[in-house]
Symmetry: C2
């Protein structure tokens, strides 16, 4: 399987690393908006091209992995590239998925390609777990918690505060809430009861720390609905202890069965990830394998993780899967 990367940031580098773990895959090209001569990839022999030249390489690539952002990149790029390639993206603006799906589906179908959108862990593996658990336990409640992990959006928001030089924000599930859900208590939880926000802030010299802390804690949408703690640290501490991009979370469904709902069940799925972009990349490549196979079977159009039979994700044959993994 010949893989190409479109956009060489954290996610693109994650895809590059993940290709090496999959014997049936080969990275053949990286497309960048930058001057290709300034982009150095880590895999020998892989060519770097400007995105303007993508069309010329269509016949060399089985699946193009779109590694741009959901806000402005993917809504444009995924439908556009679906005209030329089989594509996969990690579009994660939940509210705009139906619209994105329709655009990508049209482009893919008109050009005989397959596409898979919104791949990763949420949307992605978490979505799959929500679907399976809802199908199995029709009477029940869903809970999703995120973290402990870095929220890029909240870290960006901190860095926009006056007097802040640098900062990182961790989203942390509240232990008491997790335990209550895990015990089948079916709690109704407010935003504040579900997650904490912890900020590590590097202030500019002479900045008013009290004012920074107040502005962060009272910031609407981002922090005001949460219990937020702010720690002021040095740039060196930030680099030494907070340079990673960990994340993760929990998906629960709690439900009941029996003629009178007398038996309770708890389904829990959780992820603890040292690197959010590398794990996302790993999920993307498993689904890239699947759509490549489906395309070889003649399937076109836009898909999501819901549409892919799990066997397509594995390099093992049906016989091997039944013998060793069932």
């Amino acid at each position: 399987m010949r893989i190409a990367i479109y956009g060489y940031g954290n996610l693109g580098r994650g895809v590059e690393a993940a290709v090496r773990q999959n014997d049936d895959m080969e990275l053949v090209a990286v497309f960048t908006r930058r001057d290709p001569s300034t982009v150095k990839v880590q895999t020998e022999g892989v060519k770097v091209y400007n995105i303007a030249d993508a069309a010329a390489h269509a016949s060399e690539i089985d699946v193009l992995v779109l590694c741009g952002g959901s806000a402005t990149d993917l809504p444009e790029q995924t439908p556009e590239m679906a005209k030329l390639f089989n594509v996969i993206d990690s579009f994660d603006t939940h509210a705009r998925i139906p619209e994105h799906f329709a655009n990508v589906d049209k482009a893919a179908k008109e050009n005989g390609h397959i596409a898979l959108i919104s791949c990763g862990w949420d949307p992605g593996m978490f979505s799959l777990n929500r679907l399976y658990a809802n199908a199995v336990l029709p009477q029940g409640n869903d809970y999703t918690f995120w973290g402990k992990g870095v929220s890029q959006g909240h870290s960006d928001a901190i860095r926009r505060v006056k007097g802040v030089k640098n900062g990182k924000q961790y989203t942390i599930p509240v232990d008491a809430a997790l335990e209550s859900v895990r015990n089948g208590e079916n709690p109704e939880l407010t935003t504040r009861q579900k997650h904490l926000r912890e900020c590590f802030v590097v202030a500019e010299e002479g900045a008013d720390l009290a004012a920074i802390e107040k502005e962060i804690k009272e910031m609407p949408n981002y922090f005001s609905d949460y219990d937020t703690t702010v720690h002021f640290i040095s740039e060196e501490e930030l680099q030494a202890n907070h340079s990673g991009i960990p994340h993760g979370g929990f998906v629960f469904r709690t439900g009941s069965t029996g003629f009178n709902g007398e038996n309770k069940h708890v389904i829990e799925y959780s992820l603890k990830l040292d690197s959010n972009p590398e794990f996302t990349s790993s999920v993307i490549l498993a689904f890239a394998r699947a759509i490549n196979r489906l395309h070889n079977e003649g399937v076109n159009g836009c898909k999501t993780v819901f549409d892919i039979a799990p066997a397509y994700l594995s390099p093992l044959s049906g016989e091997e899967l039944r013998a060793h993994m069932l």
Copy 2:
């Protein structure tokens, strides 16, 4: 969807209860080896027939749920019934799955039916989680723990010991092992390090309790490789505190990503079930929905949970799933 049950034990009753939670399903018949007049079902209007009369009702049934045991019932019944119906079973003798699959596949294909074998939670939901996690993290380790829950096989073994009137055995994962796996330590665990076995035994009057305890603890295959505790209790206590059939367990995959495997990830799936047969039944019905749809699309032959795209399990449409669950 018209569902029928073949074998009315714990699992069959679980299916009967679960049908009521699924608005698109209706229970239309129960087949039993017993004299039908002696079997009283809980759903009004549902006919009970002897299994010998199954063929006469083929046209009334969309999916037949086989609720017999894996040792002797299902290897015979599933291929036989796949000649007449679309069928689903919970065949759980892992080592014999390839052979069972081949037999059922042949019968189903020759007669234009669809079948799904080995459905439930292990095999079933646990298998799915093993597959997804292996596809996503090719470099890593798998761990499966069972319990806390009742093992029918071990409970039966206790009851065969001389001087034992009744008994129940719980399989319990060892907390330290769970924690080590969860922390990404990738331990190599012996049988003894993974699970404990706890037995609640009702002895016959005047029985030699020390001899019973010794015989249980030293029983090969069942107990000798485990740390086993034996509690002697009264029949009343057993009925009051140990009449349920809880079960559950944990599936982990721990793996690494990055150019040098520098980032660690832990994927964990767990189930905590008050009723093993009712949860198994609930999984079966979700997959029964899926195979009925696939059969309506013209798909025949034997399938496993690996072959079913998740969207087929849900009563929601693709649009609804993308809008609300992705």
